[in-house]
Amino acid sequence: MNRIAVEKKVLNENQILAEQLRERYRENGVLCVNLISSPGSGKTALLERTLERMDKSARVAVLTGDLQTENDARRLAKFGFPVRQITTGGTCHLDARMIGKHLEDWKLENVALEDLDLLIVENVGNLVCPSSYDLGEDAKIVLLSTTEGEDKPLKYPSIFFKSELMLLTKIDLLPYVPFSADLARENARRVHPGMEIIDVSSTTGEGLDRWMDWLKARQEKARLQGVVG
């Protein structure tokens, strides 16, 4: 019997593709963000409000992942920006290969990375699996809604640890649900000390200015990297 050291990532193939995507985003000065949450935490609703607030000339595009149906893409297509649905047909997360394939397909519709400043990926509703698959994004963003438990960050630490920003969503419901926003924030920061948190409501619009400012600041950073690199 012979033991050989291997020392490579289990998801090595995905990692290689993700690094290639990251490099392409960097070269083109594109900011890519990966939105992750449980099903129904408000990812698509947030993106509706986000696209609505964008300048008509904004160079933004959205890839939205779901197990089945094109519903989310339909909801988002109304705003006039390029939107593509990725239906995974049962797979519980998006992976780098799927993103690469859809970027290729998009070229046929004249949507190319060099014409974009911002690529938003809405991952499949799931708090566990998407955290393992790097999509080459600049930042993972986790959404936690006030209709879930405050202990979600402790139960699913991986995604809260890996996300740069947490959006506490549906805060318009705070008066009606037994949810302590303070405790939720405290739990998130126990898992990820110093994590940025923005409270938002897609219904009332509260907090959306801060969210748009966050995006703008990160976009500027990505653009400068593209210029330098």
């Binding site: 033991r3 490579k8 998801l11 519980c92 393992s132 640890f161």
Partner: protein
């Protein structure tokens, strides 16, 4: 039902085993060792189970999966002390500083394989 996530991870591990096997004709890989960080978001029991399901009745049998859990370790930015983080408390046990960085616990790595060449 095997959770989809761990099944996907198990099948990625098997792909690596198959690739390695090609490099050792006439030999059989009998064990693969995988490191799983506390923060990797992978359930060990589900992974073990999913792995067994995928290996069963294939030419890969017998093939064992050995999982090693890697704890979350933090390093203090002030005094450089390294400690295992428990109960999500980031405070340095030596100097009390809160600015500690995670240095391990995110692993999802293949560490080794055991080959029987007979």
């Amino acid at each position: 039902m095997v959770p989809m996530h761990e099944l996907g991870i198990a099948s990625s591990i098997l792909e690596s085993v198959q690739k390695e096997a090609v490099r050792h004709p006439g030999a059989h890989i009998s064990k693969v060792g995988v490191k799983i960080g506390e923060l990797a978001g992978v359930d060990r029991d589900a992974l073990q189970f999913g792995f067994e399901v995928l290996v069963k009745d294939t030419e890969l049998e017998p093939l064992a999966l050995e999982l090693e859990l890697i704890p979350r370790v933090q390093r203090c930015s002030k005094c450089a002390y390294e400690f295992r983080m428990t109960d999500f408390d980031p405070r340095c046990p030596l100097c009390g500083d809160l600015a500690t960085q995670c240095i391990s616990g995110e692993e999802l790595d293949i560490a080794y394989m055991e080959i029987d060449d007979s």
